[in-house]
């Protein structure tokens, strides 16, 4: 108590070495203020940050707890000079630091710490594109077997024989989820098979935009195999954009229409197992595929075939055997080789030297 009283009488030490600088790699309008702690930091309420345009009149712009040496003032006008003072606050007692040097904030065009990501995008993207264009020249490429895809023909054939429909859902993803787009590509191929064999296709949707695209894709497939007349516009339809309402409705379709085959391919959340188990209970053959790792265990347990992760993306190339798409897979494979090599090389460097190798991947 006496100590506190004493401090009350003689005051507390102000923070020192106040330094202000433009916040790097940002969109402007922000200045970082740094200081060294007050010697009486332990008993302070915290630090108040004061700002001035002219070095004369200061106004308070912020407050931050004790034992902090940094404050971001994110409310500055770009191109204007500012001075900063930091105040050690204890009850009503304020000790002002010296003023900082004048500083200006400014926006940057490139976020430098993200350079590694840009480089990775360029390398891997470049590789893929190189092989895509290379493939145009018609070089034969090999792709290993993917179990779920080989079952597609049987699955469609079975539905035809049984005179039952095929259900295809792209899941609960939106058009911006790449898995949805990959699924739409596969849908196109399956729609072609349905058109050829005259098998009914049921394709319910959660996202109105995906629905619109899917409708075009399916229609085009029917046209391509010369059966535009067989396309039933009501086979592709929208249900609702609410996840579980969609799951309830698709479950209903499964038990009422009793499709011979269910395709659950795309982007899924918790409804994955609702759909897969309901489908399994009707005795349908089920082919699933998603890149959503948390949902894969449920598809693996409840479905007959599951496309795991990247297999989903390889699928459309695999079915269509189009050289352009196959070329991309070759590029992806090379990318994975590079990652493997980077892992090994990084580990060797990391183990043998003291270089901060992990910083490359921040």
């Amino acid at each position: 108590m006496a100590v506190i009283l004493l401090i009350g009488l003689i005051g507390v030490a102000p923070p020192t070495h106040v330094r202000a600088y433009d916040t790097p790699d940002d969109g402007g309008g922000s200045i970082m203020v740094e200081w060294h702690l007050s010697q009486d930091d332990a008993i302070l309420d915290g630090y108040e940050i004061y700002r001035s345009n002219d070095g004369d009149v200061y106004e308070k712009v912020g407050f931050i707890g004790r034992n902090r040496t940094r404050y971001e003032d994110s409310n500055t006008e770009d191109g204007e000079n500012y001075f900063y003072k930091v105040v050690a606050l204890k009850d009503t007692l304020k000790m002002y630091s010296q003023a900082s040097q004048p500083v200006m904030s400014s926006p940057q065009w490139f976020d430098l710490p993200k350079l590694n990501i840009l480089i990775a995008c360029v390398i891997f993207g470049g590789l893929i594109l190189y092989f895509v264009y290379h493939a145009r020249k018609g070089k034969e490429l090999y792709i290993r077997k993917i179990a779920g895809l080989q079952a597609i023909d049987d699955a469609v054939g079975r539905a035809t024989e049984m005179g039952k429909p095929i259900l295809y859902t792209t899941g609960t993803g939106l058009i911006g989820d790449i898995a949805t787009i990959a699924s739409l590509n596969i849908l196109g191929e399956i729609a072609k098979k349905c058109a050829r064999y005259d098998t009914q296709l049921i394709n319910p949707h959660l996202d109105p935009i995906v629905y619109t695209v899917a409708r075009e894709v399916v229609k085009e497939s029917y046209t391509q195999v010369g059966r535009p007349d067989a396309f039933d516009p009501d086979s592709v339809y929208f249900i609702t954009d609410l996840q579980f309402a969609y799951a309830a409705a698709v479950s209903g379709i499964m038990v009422r229409e009793k499709p011979a085959t269910n395709f659950l391919i795309g982007w899924f959340m918790a409804e994955s197992l609702i759909l897969a188990e309901t489908g399994a209970s009707t005795g349908a053959i089920q082919i699933a595929g998603t890149d959503r790792v948390p949902q894969l265990p449920f598809f693996i347990t409840a479905c007959d075939y599951t496309l795991i992760g990247e297999e989903l993306y390889a699928a459309s190339a695999y079915i269509s055997k189009e050289p352009l798409l196959l070329g991309a897979i070759k590029g992806e494979d090379l990318g994975k080789l590079i990652i493997g090599a980077a892992l090994i090389a990084g580990s060797i460097i990391g183990l043998l030297t003291k270089l901060p190798i992990l910083n490359l991947f921040k």
Partner: protein, 287 residues
């Protein structure tokens, strides 16, 4: 031979029915199952327990009726702990919807204590032992503003009193007077507490989360950003266990009472897996 066939192909509806029975019976005839307390909850308990006399515990009630089964027992256990040890409590919600549930939990535990209290010193009194700050607009704004002054941001409490007139608030200015923030939320809120209240003002944060979201929060415990973590029904039951064993506070232990349902459901699923495999193997032998 017939039995084996049946075992390998039990109708799923029978599985559903047995599962339902196994989950429902312990709910109707509750008996609290005791649990071994794991380190994340033990840390949480100790962090609350060690709050010094002059500091308060903030409880952020941010669960909705949907997540109530898992998160409400945590709130009750925390309140019992605090009231028993006379730790001052500041209750708040960052969203409007949970306010009613917060009120419900506060009333329940206050009544538990006051029904046996004989003197005013024994009782839990609003304004002296706890304050319900209610809700003010903007979750992040609230986290930041409380770093400077709690009574300036929450100038009136849930009941419309001016907070600066409340006895408890006389000594509670900002996070410097807060021992730990306990955030009970099914969403990202505990992370925001770390990003905005802890990083800027150094206040300790503990979290109570649903078991669905558990894996997202583990890393925060490892890095020490969370001073404690309760996950789902089991985490709540562990806290209940500590409150009862360490502080001998009696009362309904809703999470502990749900544990038998959870345990039996797991054991049932395991049993079905075993039965299925027995059926499978015997049949394969026969072929």
């Amino acid at each position: 031979m017939k039995i084996i066939d049946i075992l390998a192909k039990i109708d799923r509806r029978i599985i559903y029915l047995i599962l339902l029975v196994v989950v429902i019976l312990p709910l109707i005839f509750p008996s609290a199952q005791s649990v071994r307390v794991m380190p994340p909850v033990e840390k949480f308990f100790n962090a609350v327990d060690n709050i010094p006399e002059e500091k308060a515990l903030i409880i952020d009630f941010d669960y909705t009726p949907q997540d109530m089964p898992e998160l409400e027992p945590m709130a009750i256990a925390l309140l019992r702990h605090a009231f028993k040890k006379r730790i001052k409590v500041l209750a708040l919600s960052l969203y409007v919807q949970p306010l009613g549930l917060a009120q419900r939990a506060l009333t329940q535990v206050t009544e538990e204590f006051n029904s046996t209290a004989e003197t005013s010193a024994d009782s839990i009194i609003y304004g002296r032992d706890y304050v319900f700050l209610g809700w003010q607009v903007g979750p992040i704004l609230a986290m930041l503003s409380m770093g400077e002054s709690i009574t300036n941001f929450y100038n009136i409490d849930y009941y419309g009193n001016r907070t600066d007139t409340l006895l408890l608030m006389k000594h509670i200015k900002n996070y410097n007077n807060v021992g730990i923030v306990a955030a009970l939320s099914p969403s990202d809120i505990p992370r925001y507490w770390v990003a905005y209240a802890q990083n800027r003002f150094g206040v300790a944060v503990g979290a109570g989360v649903t078991s669905v979201s558990a894996s997202e929060f583990y890393p925060y415990l490892q890095t020490g950003q969370f001073s404690g973590l309760m996950i789902g029904m089991k985490g709540a039951a562990e806290y209940e266990e500590m409150v009862e064993k360490e502080l001998s506070v009696a009362g309904r232990r809703k999470a502990s009472e749900s544990l038998p349902s959870i345990t039996y459901a797991h054991l049932l699923i395991i049993a079905f897996i075993i039965i299925g495999n027995i059926g499978h193997f015997v049949k394969r032998r026969q072929k």
